[in-house]
């Protein structure tokens, strides 16, 4: 069976075993017309079974909808599907799913809408604590806290789902729209996140991640990968956020040391919304007008992106600059590889926060397309710079307007102002690195590229 056919039968993944049974059990010659016909017949039976294997729970808007939906979320068993009919659902309490391999599907991200405008309980809209969930074609609006949180599971697919705070940017909006955390195998495709007071699409402390074809708008951070390993972030569109794409790592967490992240073919433009994060949140540091910010990660490859019209800077590479007590934490970004991107004009109206002012004071306005804070452990700075094998690599980008690169040398700005010597030299960014390997994400035992959602 060829690959295109298998896509129609995502649950039928038994061909090798069937072949084995026929060959060993019945001794039909491989490839005979008889065997081929039988495999086709068996596949058809299996397909029919898979179509009826799971129960369907049909939920319709109305006064009983919340209780019916939550009851379905509790009673649904592996393979079952919960179907949200067209309409707006008034939900008062946080919903939760704790059984594996359940699908929740609506009539479309603008048609089946779970509205939490009147929410009185629960810290998020929908909480998922079991693996293999597939969410598609619905929306979660106006939750008091996070919109959809997935915690500590293996396998989550979020396809054509929208999370939105409909009142636009506001510090009273919830923190995160799509929020998988401590999760393996995360797949987000064709989704939309609007109005989060932290990150619209946020994947934290996770591994094996694909975020693609999605849009983040009017969030503080459009799309953020934090304390995570092995992520492919591509073909997304980020605009009107404070910052478009963030790749962060923070100390004192169960998983840290973020690495192996590819960010490619995205558009991150005009992310010029004032930072509206509630104070005290690290994302509050992001300057208005940031296309992309990479902080304290290693092995991040950024290519094929188009970034422009960001008022402060297209790309910033930074250390974690807050104080921390964590001997296992490395605050310094390493091996950041940025190539074959197109950078349009940016930096025309930089943010006035302390950090942005220091950087623009050091490197001038408009800022270069890519800035590096130049912060590293002090002994390194005096002896050899970034350690061997840790330097960055920046090459073959198209710079339509501003200078390519600037080292803000903030280490000396803070440590010994008279030695502060910012520079536009590419010296610390001219290593050569191979490309990183693509990430594969497996949901319910099948690679996402071999399934149709």
């Amino acid at each position: 069976m060829d690959r295109s056919k298998r896509k129609q039968f995502p649950n039928v993944n038994v061909n090798p075993a069937l072949t084995f049974v026929f060959e060993v059990g019945f001794r039909f010659p491989k490839g005979s017309w008889f065997m081929n016909r039988h495999i086709a017949a068996v596949a058809a039976i299996l397909w029919a079974q898979s179509a009826i294997a799971g129960n369907e729970f049909h939920i319709f808007p109305g006064d009983a909808a919340e209780e019916q939906l939550q009851e379905a979320l509790i009673l649904a068993e592996p393979g079952d599907t919960i179907i949200l009919a067209d309409g707006v659902y008034d939900i008062r309490n946080g919903l939760s799913l704790d059984n594996p391999d359940v699908t929740i599907v609506g009539a479309g991200m603008d048609r089946s809408i779970l509205s939490f405008k009147n929410q009185s309980g629960g810290a998020e809209g929908l909480l998922i604590t079991a693996g293999g969930a597939i969410l598609k074609d619905f929306a979660v609006e106006d939750t008091k806290g996070d919109a959809i949180k997935i915690k500590g599971v293996d396998g989550i697919a979020i396809v054509r789902v929208r999370t939105e705070w409909t009142n636009g940017p506001d510090e009273n909006n919830g923190s995160y729209g799509l929020y998988p955390v401590q999760t393996k195998n995360v797949y987000i495709d064709g989704s939309v996140a609007i109005g989060a007071s932290d990150a619209g699409i946020y994947v934290g402390q996770s591994e094996n991640i694909i975020v693609r074809n999605s849009r983040g708008e009017y969030n503080v951070a459009g799309l953020e990968i934090e304390n995570s390993y092995y992520a492919d972030v591509y073909a997304n569109e980020l605009t009107n956020n404070t910052g478009g794409i963030l790749i962060f790592d923070l100390p004192n967490l169960p998983q840290q040391g973020g690495h192996s992240i590819r960010v490619f073919d995205n558009k991150s433009y005009a992310n010029n919304t004032d930072n509206f994060a509630p104070q005290g949140n690290i994302v509050g540091l992001v300057p208005r007008g940031t296309g992309m910010l990479i902080m304290a990660n290693r092995d991040v490859e950024v290519f094929g992106n188009d970034m422009r019209d960001n008022d402060t800077v297209n790309v910033a590479i930074m250390s974690y600059v807050e104080g921390f007590e964590d001997e296992n934490y490395d605050p310094t970004p390493k091996r950041i590889h940025i190539h074959d991107n197109v950078f349009g004009a940016s930096g025309g109206n930089p943010d006035t926060s302390e950090f942005a002012e220091i950087v623009t004071g050091a490197l001038g306005t408009p800022l270069p397309n890519i800035i590096w804070d130049g912060v590293m452990p002090l002994p390194n700075f005096f002896l050899w710079g970034i350690e061997e094998g840790g330097r960055h690599s920046i090459h073959d980008n198209v710079y339509e307007a501003n200078p390519p690169f600037g080292n803000a040398n903030l280490i000396m700005y803070f440590a010994a102002r008279w030695l502060h010597n910012p520079s536009l030299s590419m010296k610390d960014a001219s290593e050569t690195y191979p490309s990183l390997a693509p990430v594969s994400v497996v949901i319910r035992g099948v690679d996402v590229n071999d399934q149709t959602f």
Binding site: E67, Q70, E71, L73, I74, L75, R92, N93, G94, S96, L97, D98, Q119, S120, G121, G122, A123, L127, T129, T143, K144, G145, D146, K151, G152, E171, N172, N173, G174, S175, Y176, V181, Q182, S197, D198, Y202, G204, Q205, L250, N252, L253, P254, A277, P278, Q279, G280, N281, I282, E322, E325, D326
Partner: protein, 345 residues
């Protein structure tokens, strides 16, 4: 047993009347729980909530705040399964067939109580299961409510003042929001030896639980038996009371491997690292729960400490704990305020 003899046995049991009946171990082992609480036979007299002889009442030293509800706890261990072995750390390993029973009630204004719900945690072969039962108006039966239920009621605080409560009977998933082990499986929270080690009329509760066949023998060196102090005990040092309160109200999620470990804030009794206990620890994903403050605890400055801000809120996007209350525990807030003030040295 044949079907007919089973029917006969049930009929005889019914004829014998509820008093002296046995707990229905078969119902406890079933995949789906009975629709009515009375069918399980935990109480000889439902209306009076008189427990079956094998169902043992107990209390814990530092309970969770749940909107000033009165709580009545019972534990049942089948005689055939034998008692749980003594263990100083973590929750008692109650055998399969055991049930933890907790009834939530409020004073009825006439000297009695009005029961709202009874939660069962049942230890089955496949693990622990949680089911909430909601009491009827007549107070003689409670009905299974898988998806939970909401009530509006009025509670009385210890100082005599009243407060409106949006009481939420949690659904089974919400139960698991807190009742989950590091392995992701359902588990009880309260019955740890250190929470059961308390004085009661006639002696120490642990001795009664041993005599009732719930716990096997205690260690000979009784001084080695751990104890969480009561956070209401005036004689207990302030920091110990505060940590007991945070352990009871937060530590079941805010601990390594637990649901809130994504934050790195650990409020369980055993945690000793200041940064993880919140002292000068910046938030990770608090959002507007930060209240605009930079740290979970600023020693000496409760009014700039996120921890207190979230305890002192009823906004679902801000408040902590996330579940189990719709009002503010004023005494708890005062305790944590005093504790943070005291850290200022």
């Amino acid at each position: 047993m044949t079907r007919r003899s089973k029917t006969l046995a049930v009929a005889l049991a019914l004829l014998a009347g509820p008093v002296g009946a046995e707990v229905n171990d078969t119902a406890l082992a079933a995949a789906r729980p009975p629709a009515n609480l009375s069918e399980i036979g935990l109480f000889d007299d439902m209306a009076a909530m008189t427990p079956n002889a094998a169902v043992v009442p107990y209390t814990i030293s530092a309970p969770l705040f749940t909107d000033y509800a009165l709580k009545y706890r019972f534990v049942y261990v089948p005689a055939s399964a034998g008692p749980a072995a003594y263990q100083g750390e973590d929750v008692l390993d109650l055998p399969v067939g055991s049930v933890l029973v907790k009834t939530f009630a409020y004073p009825d204004g006439a000297g009695g109580i009005h029961r709202v719900e009874t939660r069962l945690l049942i230890h089955q072969e496949a693990g622990w299961k949680a089911w909430p039962y909601v009491w009827n108006e007549a107070q003689d039966e409670a009905e299974l409510k898988v998806a939970g239920k909401d009530f509006a009621l009025t509670a009385t605080r210890p100082d005599g003042s009243t407060v409106d409560v949006a009481y939420h009977v949690p659904n089974v998933n919400q139960c698991k929001g807190c009742h989950v082990g590091t392995d992701g499986a359902f588990r009880p929270i309260g019955p740890k030896v250190r929470n059961l080690n308390l004085a009661e009329e006639g002696g120490n509760q642990l001795d009664r639980l041993v005599a009732s066949g719930i716990i096997a023998a205690l260690p000979e060196d009784r001084a080695s038996v751990p104890m969480t102090p009561s956070y209401e005990g005036e004689a207990v040092p302030l920091e110990a009371r505060a940590r007991a309160y945070l352990d009871a109200n937060c530590g079941h999620c805010h601990a390594p491997g637990r649901p809130a470990d994504t934050s790195g804030l650990y409020l369980n009794w055993e945690e000793d690292r200041a940064i993880h206990r919140g002292i000068l620890k910046p938030p990770v994903a608090a959002g507007r729960g930060s209240g605009g403050f930079a740290y979970d605890i600023v020693p000496g400055d409760p009014d700039h400490s996120i921890l207190l801000y979230r305890l002192d809120s009823t906004d679902p996007g801000i408040m902590m704990p996330e579940l189990g209350r719709s009002t503010i525990d004023q005494a708890g807030v005062a305790l944590i305020r005093a504790y943070i003030e005291s850290l200022g040295g």
